[in-house]
């Protein structure tokens, strides 16, 4: 090729790179503006928790957190402001990242952390699900070490503004054009209204057969230490499932042991008989519906009240083998 062609090509390539950088910055800003303007659903709730929430009580966890804890009931009963920061499909990494942002801004009075029955199973997908938080990467350095777990070169990839909004564009367009179509939330709580029709089965989640992820386990330890360091109270809970979990105790055992070591109450309600009798309080095997969430939230309120009123030591001092609470009292309340 002649030298003039090379010169022309070089100029084109340089111009192209400049154009790409400008496009990345420009489009990134447009997406950021629209993303932060989303006025409803899980995105709005996430933006609120990450950027501005200063509530007294936060609920952290996965879909089971977001569908099981009615923030308004907690707020009314405890006379404390409460926000449910659980999110569908997420796990301990998401909870920790969100908590880092909360603690950088405020010190809540109480954190309720809901762990799933297979919370610590080694699953690569759980890392990629952190993508929900990449739009906040630049503005929240405190969560960056957790988001960098997604891949070895995540810190380089997020230099692209467009990458930060990867796989969000349909959601942004949908929620901006039709805010009413976004998920319904009440202080972060997302009610489900279906009724599960199936029967009680043995749990057979393939996740239960996976080895445990030490990074996730260490993440829970770090989360507990960070909460304790700021003097906030923490209760770790595994909420009910409509499954016989006797074959899949691995993750719950780990949670129980860590909480015992760290002197934090762990309430394993996954197999409470009262919740195993009636499938109609569930939307599916892993999620309570709105009615079930109401019962479950009231039960939890009853369980945590002693903790907040200064009678906490009895919970911490008790043998934490299954639940820190008196099951008879709990069941009689249901």
């Amino acid at each position: 090729m002649q030298s003039t062609s090379w010169k022309a090509l070089s100029i084109r390539v340089i111009l192209f790179i400049v154009l790409m950088i400008l496009l990345d910055i420009g489009l990134g800003k447009v997406l950021k503006y629209n993303y932060l303007k989303i006025n409803g659903g899980a995105t709005k709730a996430c933006t609120y928790v990450v950027n501005e929430a200063k509530d007294d009580v936060f609920i952290l966890g996965s879909s089971r957190a977001s569908h099981h804890y009615k923030s308004s009931l907690i707020q009314d009963s405890l006379h404390l402001t409460c926000f449910n920061a659980g999110r569908d499909g997420e796990g301990i990494f998401y909870s920790y990242a969100v908590l880092k942002c909360i603690l950088a801004r405020t010190t809540p009075k109480l954190i309720l952390l809901d762990l799933t029955t297979d919370e610590f199973a080694e699953d690569e997908n759980d890392y990629s699900k952190l993508s929900f938080l990449t739009p906040y990467y630049d503005t929240h350095p405190e969560m960056q070490p957790i988001l960098n777990l997604r891949s070895n070169y995540e810190w380089v990839k997020v230099k692209s503004s467009l990458y930060q909004y990867n796989s969000t564009i349909i959601k942004i367009i949908g929620d901006r054009l039709r805010p009413s179509a976004a998920e319904k939330t009440e202080l972060g709580y997302m009610p489900l209204f279906k009724e599960y029709k199936g029967t009680l089965e043995m749990a057979d989640n393939p996740k239960s057969r996976l080895p445990l992820d030490t990074l996730k386990i260490n993440c829970l330890k770090s989360l507990i230490r960070d909460v304790k360091k700021v003097g906030c109270k923490l209760v770790v809970i595994t909420s009910p499932v409509y499954l016989d979990m006797s074959n899949c105790p691995k993750s719950m055992e780990v949670a129980k042991n860590i909480c015992a070591q760290e002197q934090v109450p762990y309430i394993n309600n996954s197999q409470l008989q009262a919740f195993m009798r009636d499938p109609s309080i569930y939307a599916d095997q892993y999620h309570l519906n709105d009615q079930g969430a109401g019962i479950m939230t009231n039960m939890v309120i009853g369980e945590i009240k002693p903790l907040l009123s200064g009678q906490a030591t009895y919970i911490i001092d008790r043998n934490l083998q299954t639940s820190a609470l008196n099951k008879k009292d709990t069941l009689s309340r249901l």
Partner: protein, 479 residues
Amino acid sequence: MLFNSFQFLVFFPLVTIIYFLLPHKFRWFHLLLASCVFYAAFIPIYILILFFTILIDYCAGIAIENSQGGKRKLFLTTSIIANVGVLAIFKYYNFFTNNINELLNQLHITAHGLPILNMILPIGLSFHTFQAMSYTIEVYRGNQKAERHLGIYALYVMFYPQLVAGPIERPQNILHQFYEKHSPDAILIENGLRKMLWGLVMKVVIADRVAIFVNAIYNNVPENNGTMLLLASFFFAIQIYCDFAGYSYIAIGAAQVMGFDLMTNFKRPYFSTSIDMFWKRWHISLSTWFRDYLYIPLGGNRVPVPRWYFNLFIVFVVSGLWHGANWTYIIWGALNGFYLIFAIVSKKWRDSFNRVSLISRNPVIFKIIQIVTTFCLVTFAWIFFRANTVTDAFLIVKKIFTELGPLSLNGSLILTMLYAFSGIALLFLVELYMEYSSREVPLLQHSSVYVKYASYAVGIVYILLFGVFDGGQFIYFQF
């Protein structure tokens, strides 16, 4: 190293720049070293298997050329046994052992079963083994001179763009290219980068996106109804094409940037009007390998008709087994063999039907019907290819035909489906354009510089916004 990884984004330009900066006599060594680094990024120790087959085939090639009569055959057989032996140990040993142990169990022979080896299949083993075998066979046939330069021969087997998933090259096409001095050519570089960009769109934006849906459904067959399984099967047909053709585009493009010309591996196979045409457009380098080294030596179609059918069937069964040591792949291969034989047997009836029916009078509609029918047949066979077990595969087929129901999609699956359909629509339009025009990829090859570069920019933006960056490896790496 994966083409869709961040490491490759650094590796590729670095290797290419150094390649052009180096004097010609050192380039083979540079490429060989780069290929070793590329392969060692997976499981370093397995590079020893490659070295073993390279040494055997290098010596066999020279020995074949220097020998006469029966000795030539002996050296060829030795080389083939060594290559097939490596495949047998690393890829098929556990499969056959499991089946033998199962058979012994069924016969109530409770003696100790054969031991199972605990090892991971070396990446792309079937690809580089077949490429190595094509070298010794071509030397034996006198179509290729034996390569005396061990480094160049090693590069023939290990050339990184096509090392782990093809195209499976023939020595006549690629060996001489390692001796040629390639100067940087702006047109080739641009063409190569364009192919890589389109390949990346196919892999990251389409294949890895639909894979989320496919995995969610296929890994939980009992919980899903026939409609969900049908949709997942359609998506898998798209996934495997975009995954593998995307890989091939990147491989061919990466080689082209350095001045190498690799063979075309895909020619829009889903626009095929028959199964026969499909196999002339799908994984061309493997299809032609089986044609040249198995089908024709078996007698091809120049034998009595029953034997011809047998040849066709056996080639497809072996092709299935080549893909993986599992009954699902064997059934997939057998099904494709059956399709082809049925197409031959039924040709007269179909022609008669087409003549009397009204359909054939409208060539456009007739062609669309042929394309859709071929696609449905191929997709049906893919069910066996993708299913985790044979039981799963038959359950999927049963549910598709008997348990159609409403789509049960949660929020994330709906979003995945929307992204997937937007990607599939793009793919369809691009392939339609390519099928009926002489251009490679529309807009990316436009005569206006502005349109062309704008389309490059859109391509990159599209990958950044819609790509799946945690999609993992290519499906065909496991073969």
